[in-house]
Symmetry: C2
Subunit: 154 residues, 2 copies
């Protein structure tokens, strides 16, 4: 694969990530689901339990619950995006800032996401997502206050 081809594929995946962000911020469940491979071909290791989401129905229910927990507008920001693409598979990794009111609490947190794509019938679809924050073993707490600028915390 030439550098030009790789660059074109990376741009395609980057555009998919931008469109995904737009659907995410709009809390549009149907639009979100258009980015994922059908049925059990999709799995996610998400920020919240269970330990694994498997298949479109479970993932859709997760998004419905997540969007319901965020009252009012949801603001998103990307940082540190990197895309790796080949003809058939691609990986995007990025920090995503979530700003809004979550379960009544003002929330402003950066999460790490790894989105894995396969090109299916000419369209890039995510077959696996992984979203997380690190943990502090000493306290058992999730480190929700880290940022790309303050990666170790205070």
């Amino acid at each position: 694969m030439t550098t030009t081809q790789a660059s074109r594929l990376e741009q395609e995946v980057l555009q998919r990530m931008r469109d995904w962000k737009t659907s995410f911020a709009a809390k549009d469940v149907d639009a979100m689901m258009s980015f994922y491979a059908d049925g059990d071909a999709f799995s996610a290791f998400d920020l919240m339990p269970p330990i694994e989401f498997r298949g479109g129905d479970m993932w859709r229910a997760g998004w419905v619950a997540f969007f319901a927990a965020f009252q009012g507008p949801l603001s998103l920001e990307f940082s540190g995006m990197e895309v790796h693409a080949s003809d058939e598979l691609a990986v995007a990794r990025v920090f995503v800032r979530l700003v809004g009111v979550l379960n009544g609490q003002d929330t402003d947190m950066w999460v790490r996401t790894t989105n894995c794509f396969r090109r299916i019938d000419g369209r890039w679809l995510m077959f696996h997502d992984h979203v997380s924050v690190p943990l502090d073993f000493a306290t058992g707490r999730s480190l929700t206050h880290l940022t790309p600028e303050k990666p170790f915390g205070e």
Copy 2:
């Protein structure tokens, strides 16, 4: 790419994951580093802070610290392995059980890992790893007791 070709590539990546597990359980830092792309080509979203590890030197220091924190033997188990491979890129996702004594505490936890590979000079090297457990938003705690069999906890 034919099914046979895809299957062969998947078997190659699966073998790399098995070898990685062997090096991990042996707490062999040099052997571990042989699985990662050189220098800043590698990034990780790890179980522990910082929010991002970048480059081989930082990642090596992370493994040295991690292995030092586990006194005595470290036992590993894989579950739910899935490999997706193409000519140039591959993704393995798996649950990894870590059993040992961590900072003086008996530890038995399942983590989720997504390992992203690129074939470089004929060898599959990880260019991005993501390791995590989910968080419980209500308490801010990391859910270190979930298992592939009890994915929601008690």
